[in-house]
């Protein structure tokens, strides 16, 4: 059993938000005795958490859910209102990169300043200086003032310094949202190495892909409370479900499956060949078997569509082309829609189905989609090539002439 390195017991954090800031003595003096009016913001409520040594622990939650406050308390920046936080080991907060960077100083000078802020001694920085410069790929620019760097260069430099602050526990707050794709990939590579070297990482993010790819365990915070702790995959699902229903609520229109539609989608089953499956390899076909029940017959079009785990609509297969002027008779029908799994890249997906009136601006008759329903079948694409990225698989080939 690995030892616990972070232990949080019954942690509460409240912020007093004064209605009118009394930042001057006069206001204080004039308002002596008068109860100052403020709102109490409960940023964290009764948080209990243990993180073991060597864990890559993800924290997810919407903006304002309290996750950044939690990270700041772990980093010793904020003090808990109630409860206890015990940390065994040294800790580097990556809450923001390039703290203390000064545009008027050179790259070199900023390395020393920022390194010292992150708790490195001068000796350590001298020793690691070359490594920092090499990683940032900024050798030629080190004696130029930072204000002449592009923002991408600044981020690279900042990140390169930060990873040298070799402590036992790293707190990372979505710093990877910056930088170009190739640098982001390099960053993730570093995090993997950090993880392999047995260090503990606490990672706050919105990116469910990253949570599933890197975390051993994850937790979701919502409205200042822990709503779930467990497998990254489960947490990612919980997060997405919560998010889509919230998005539906906040978009103003109420997304609801029609109560008693003329044609109802009874069930959707995913088949691999003839047997039900949730996993498909790239060489296989995915078949969606849709059962519908028709109350009053009419001409319809049916669309089966694929959503990425984060909710992005990737595309659909519309029935118009295959079932011309489809007008199912009263009663139950079973339809099948088949497509190649190899068009998708490795990852998790949802499949939705909708029945609409014909035409380019159709009305919904019934739909099983994110926000309308929780019964979207999930499936994953496995063992796809490592050299894939982006949104979907682009079939193509390379040849060498001469």
């Amino acid at each position: 059993m690995d030892p616990t390195v972070v232990k949080i017991e019954h942690l509460y954090k409240d912020f007093k938000l004064p209605h009118e800031r009394k930042n001057s003595l006069k206001e204080r003096v004039l308002h002596v005795g008068r109860k100052s009016s403020y709102e109490m913001l409960h940023a964290l409520k009764d948080i209990d958490l243990e993180i073991k040594k060597g864990e890559f622990f993800g924290i997810v939650g919407r903006n304002g859910s309290g996750k950044s406050t939690l990270l700041k308390i772990l980093g010793g920046i904020y003090q808990p209102t109630k409860g206890r936080v015990t940390i065994n080991g040294t800790l580097t907060p990556f809450i923001e990169l390039g703290i203390g960077f000064n545009p008027e100083l050179t790259g070199r000078e900023n390395v020393y300043l920022n390194g010292a802020i992150l708790g490195l001694t001068r000796k350590e920085i001298v020793k690691k200086y070359q490594e920092i410069v090499d990683f940032a790929e900024l050798e030629r620019f080190m004696d130029q003032k930072l204000k002449n760097y592009s923002s991408g260069m600044q981020v690279r430099l900042a990140f390169s310094i930060a990873i040298q602050a070799h402590n036992d526990i790293l707190l990372i707050d979505e710093v990877l949202a910056v930088g170009d794709t190739s640098f982001q990939r390099k960053c993730y590579q570093v995090f993997k190495e950090i993880k392999q070297s047995g260090k503990t990482v606490v990672f706050v993010t919105h990116d469910m892909g990253a949570v599933q790819a890197y975390c051993d365990r994850a937790m979701m915070i919502q409205d200042s409370e822990i709503v779930a702790i467990g497998q990254p995959r489960t947490i990612a699902q919980t997060y997405e479900r919560a998010n889509s229903s919230l998005a539906a609520q906040s978009s103003g229109e109420k997304l609801e499956r029609p109560k008693d539609p003329d044609i109802r989608i009874e069930s959707i089953k995913l088949l691999n060949g003839t047997k039900e499956s949730k996993q498909f390899s790239v060489a296989e076909d995915i078949t969606a078997e849709v059962k519908i029940k028709v109350k009053s017959p009419q001409e319809v079009q049916i669309n089966a569509f694929v959503l990425k785990a984060d909710g992005t609509y990737l595309g659909g297969i519309n029935s118009t082309k295959h079932l011309k002027q489809f007008t199912p008779s009263k009663g139950e029908h079973t339809l099948r829609c088949t497509f190649k799994a190899g068009q998708l890249i490795r990852g998790d997906y949802n499949l939705g189905v909708g029945i609409y009136t014909p035409g380019y601006v159709p009305d919904i008759i019934d739909v099983i989609d994110r926000g309308y329903s929780r019964d979207l079948p999930r499936f994953s694409i496995i063992d796809a090539s490592l050299y894939q990225d982006g949104q979907f698989y682009i079939a193509g080939s390379w040849t060498e002439l001469n």
């Binding site: 001057s24 907060p93 809450i95 000078e109 020393y112 300043l113 802020i117």
Partner: protein, 269 residues
């Protein structure tokens, strides 16, 4: 206590102080042709004005031996006190961005501003030595004791900086209040005038001020033994212990208040 001291002199904290002082020094005189010469010129120009006024118009300086060196030394000590406390007061607020994002030891930030001022002070002291040579101030070995009282001044300035820095986070009024206090102190401390012309009724009140005690003791050790010191005003060593006691009280108050409030800096900034 030992633990606190150990932490204070941890290598990483020392490195941080060093980097903050060095970068502050580099940044202060960027894009200025004369660079750090300005930190010498400022007290020198003030000295020039005051010297003309107080030797030719109001003849206060007449009776003081080696008045130019005497006046300049007072001004240089005063400049250090002003620079250290004003920069110290602003230090925490100015680094708010850093404090909100990383758990740096807060006292390091205040200490670094006092050290920046100390670097300037030492450069200014070079000019004081030049004036002492030009003014034929005789060399006396007592000069070697001066650092004791300069040390007292550093401790006092540091303590006031801690207090003001913490107060300034909560009450922005303190920049104005401290401005006024400094104005008053400039005249309440014998910087431009000799302590000997202060009426007997209030001389004890003037002398009990730690700044008076420090300035007069340093002058007495460096310029001329004729300087009236707090010890002589009270006719006993006890007299010197009074202002030193005040320094100790300020140190205790400041470290208590700073420690208590520094935990919440990140939220209040």
């Amino acid at each position: 206590m030992i633990d606190a001291l150990n932490r204070m002199f941890k290598p990483s904290n020392r490195s941080l102080v060093r980097e903050l002082v060095v970068s502050d020094f580099k940044l202060r005189y960027q894009k200025s042709v004369l660079g750090y010469l300005w930190s010498l010129l400022r007290p020198l120009m003030m000295f020039g004005i005051l010297y003309v006024v107080f030797t030719h118009i109001i003849k206060i300086g007449k009776g003081v031996p080696y008045y130019p060196a005497y006046l300049l030394l007072g001004l240089v000590l005063w400049t250090f006190f002003v620079e250290a406390t004003v920069a110290g007061m602003n230090s925490i607020t100015a680094r708010g961005d850093m404090i909100r994002k990383v758990n740096v030891p807060k006292y390091v930030i205040v200490v670094s501003t006092t050290l920046s001022a100390l670097v300037n002070f030492l450069l200014n002291m070079v000019v004081v030595f030049v004036f002492m040579l030009l003014g034929d101030v005789p060399f006396r070995p007592t000069i070697l004791l001066a650092p004791i009282f300069i040390g007292e001044l550093v401790v006092l300035s540091l303590a006031i900086s801690f207090l003001l820095a913490a107060l300034y986070v909560k009450f922005r009024d303190f920049s104005h209040i401290w401005d006024v206090v400094l104005q008053v102190l400039f005249y309440a401390v014998p910087i431009i005038y000799p302590l000997t012309i202060v009426p007997a009724k209030i001389v004890k009140w003037v002398s009990i001020n730690p700044l008076t005690q420090i300035f007069q003791d340093v002058r007495s050790l460096m310029i001329t033994a004729e300087t009236l010191t707090t010890k002589e005003v009270f006719h006993s060593q006890i007299g010197r212990l009074l202002p030193m006691g005040i320094v100790v009280l300020i140190v205790i108050l400041a470290s208590w208040y700073f420690r208590r409030s520094s935990r919440n800096f990140a939220e209040e900034l």
